[in-house]
Amino acid sequence: MSTSTAEGRLLRYVDALQEAFAQEMARDESVFLFGLDVDDHKSIQGSTRGLLQEFGPERVFTTPLSEDAMTGMAIGAAMAGMRPIHVHIRMDFLLLCMNQLVNIAAKAHSMYGGSVKVPLVVRSMVGKSWGQGAQHSQALHSLFMHIPGLKIVAPSNAHDAKGCMIAAIRDDNPVLVMEHRLLYGTEAYVPEAPFEVRPGRARVVGPGDDITVVAISNMVPECLRARDLVAEVGISAEVIDPVWLQPLDIDSLLASARRTRRLLVADNAWLPCGASAEIIAAVLERAGPDAGIMVRRIGFAPVTCPPSPPLEAAFYPNPGTVASAIHAMVRPAAPAWQPDPERTRLSYQSSFCGPF
């Protein structure tokens, strides 16, 4: 927090989130934050640290285990002019409140002819590793991308965690923020003053010429690592973070893919009807049949997430499998290639350790 630069201080993702809440709650009385455990001593891994003390129990409160009604409650409060932030410690739990999110939050503005707004933020975290297993590991953004009326953002670094969260809080529509458990400890330079990373612009996080790799959420750092790995064998990969998934900045993805003529989408989720399918379909629909863009998706294996370590390792894409996929696309004639397994081991795999 001391290393201040023109672009801000080095801050952890989780602290950037906390700063976004603290600043927005101070700015706007109508913002309140609630959900299971937001007010306990662990304060959602620290992301809600100090908020109870600063803003009091009317604006920072836990709830009964009633995700469905609590979502409806937040929607009602939002329609009545407040700006609720609802926190879920796992994205899997959103399945309990799909009705309110899809049938009311997404639709209220429209089905009431514009006479109400739903400025609601729903925070949810994707769990990964350490045996999270079947029901604590899902990344379900595509379910929400399917529904008009919702916005979805998946910040992949501390800078965006703050900027996107502030944009989400200020947005007059329901915004789902997909956070990722493994990103919480990652650091980036983050401006101290409030700022917004608004919907509409994907970001090139690593330039390149041979292939476009669109990486979502935690796949961004993993794909950057893959980019380093393939660079060692002379492949130049461009890694793009869409940041906002709805609305999606297809133009930027298309421009890159047109140039590299290869498009790999690495999602932090299952593939069928996923964000990766959407990106590929949307890019190719616009690119036309003569663009000659090779496409591929990489993501969760098409199975339920297993907790057993070797199965879990096989379930997730990683820098090594991404690098292999890049290599296969860029040099289809060459024999299959895998980077040195030692080099593909991610730093978080040694630093993150159970139980939750």
């Binding site: 309140f32 609590m70 409650m73 009602g76 329609m79 009705n99 309110q100 089905m111 002819g113 109400v116």
Partner: protein, 322 residues
């Protein structure tokens, strides 16, 4: 002097309530009459026979208070003062509708009148209403929220969740269960293990009452008590009001020939029709005048709806995001 303002306040109240009751009844009869012409292309759920609940409850609310209604919500919408023309226009799918043709009969709203919307997914309005109550409490606005719901809605999990939360936070919300004994064609006996609903609600620390005499006066009195306590900070309250749906579940007709219920069930309710009961208490000339005014008012709303333009197809893309 306006004859409605003549006499004691009791008479004024009766006249006011009659006006509302007759307006709703006549409106729904007109909807039923027009429906076969296919001008209303929206599933209609009439509340004929059940109006006394909405009218009794809404009569003790202020303009600033709010009601959350169901797809069977014409009565509560009108009772709370929702714009009549906008209601009919909405059913016609017109741009002048209360939801600009984007809601239809099942999603009536009039934020200016405190009608905060309706859901076609049963029970879904309950927690949303709780959220309005939370906001009112936090904003210290003094507004109370009334949440109407059917007997079927009490079977949805969000009902229990909402009660617990509303009680925990002592929110200013009155839940009103319009228990007409049926969910579509399914009677309570196939859906409720027992009928000890108010007892159950009371275990949350929520004062809960069952009204089984079908009387507007009783509903109004109990609602008034609850709302008064609430304005003094008492937290949520609950009323279960027994009633009967005279028409079919959805659509303009009666359906006693369908076998799932008999006209015998209707008879006592019809005999005690609250519109007629109130009518009996009003001097015939005044009544005739009111009836005539209401006929005009409703006809005017239909004329307005018919004359209003449909949205243009290009307007489809409006109001997705705000």
């Amino acid at each position: 002097m306006n004859p409605e303002n003549r006499g004691d306040s009791d008479t004024q109240t009766i006249v006011r309530l009659y006006r509302r009751m007759r307006l709703i009844r006549h409106l729904e009869e007109e909807i039923a009459r027009v429906y076969p012409t296919d001008k209303i292309k929206s599933p209609i759920h009439l509340s004929i026979g059940q109006e006394f609940i909405a009218v009794g409850v809404c009569d003790v609310l202020t303009a600033k208070d709010r009601v959350s209604i169901t797809y069977r919500g014409h009565a509560a919408y009108v009772a709370k003062g929702g714009d009549l023309r906008a209601l009919v226009a909405e059913m016609y799918g017109k741009r002048t509708g209360c939801a600009k043709g984007r809601g239809g009969s099942m999603h009536l709203i009039d934020m200016d009148a405190g009608v905060i919307g309706a859901s076609a997914v049963v029970g879904t309005n309950i927690p949303v209403a709780v959220g309005f109550a939370l906001a009112a409490k936090r904003q210290r606005s003094g507004q109370v929220t009334v949440c109407f719901l059917g007997d079927g809605a009490t079977e949805e999990g969000c009902f229990a969740e909402s009660l617990n939360f509303a009680a925990l936070h002592k929110l200013p919300i009155l839940f009103v269960c319009e228990n007409n004994g049926y969910a579509i064609h399914e009677p309570l006996s196939k859906r409720w293990a027992t009928d000890r609903l108010v007892e159950r609600v009371a275990t949350y620390g929520i004062p809960a009452d069952r009204i089984s005499d079908g009387s507007l006066t009783t509903v109004r009195a109990r609602a008034a008590e609850a709302i008064t306590a609430m304005r003094a900070g008492a937290g949520p309250a609950f009323l279960e009001v027994l009633c009967y749906r005279w028409q079919e579940h959805v659509g303009p007709n009666r359906d006693y020939d369908q076998g799932y219920r008999s006209a015998d069930e209707l008879a006592p309710w019809k005999a005690d029709d609250q519109v007629a009961r109130l009518a009996d208490r009003i001097e015939p000339a005044l009544r005739a005048r009111i009836d005539a005014e209401i006929r005009v008012q409703v006809a005017e709303a239909f004329t307005f709806a018919e004359a209003s333009p449909f949205p243009e197809p290009e307007e489809l893309y409006e109001h997705v995001y705000s």
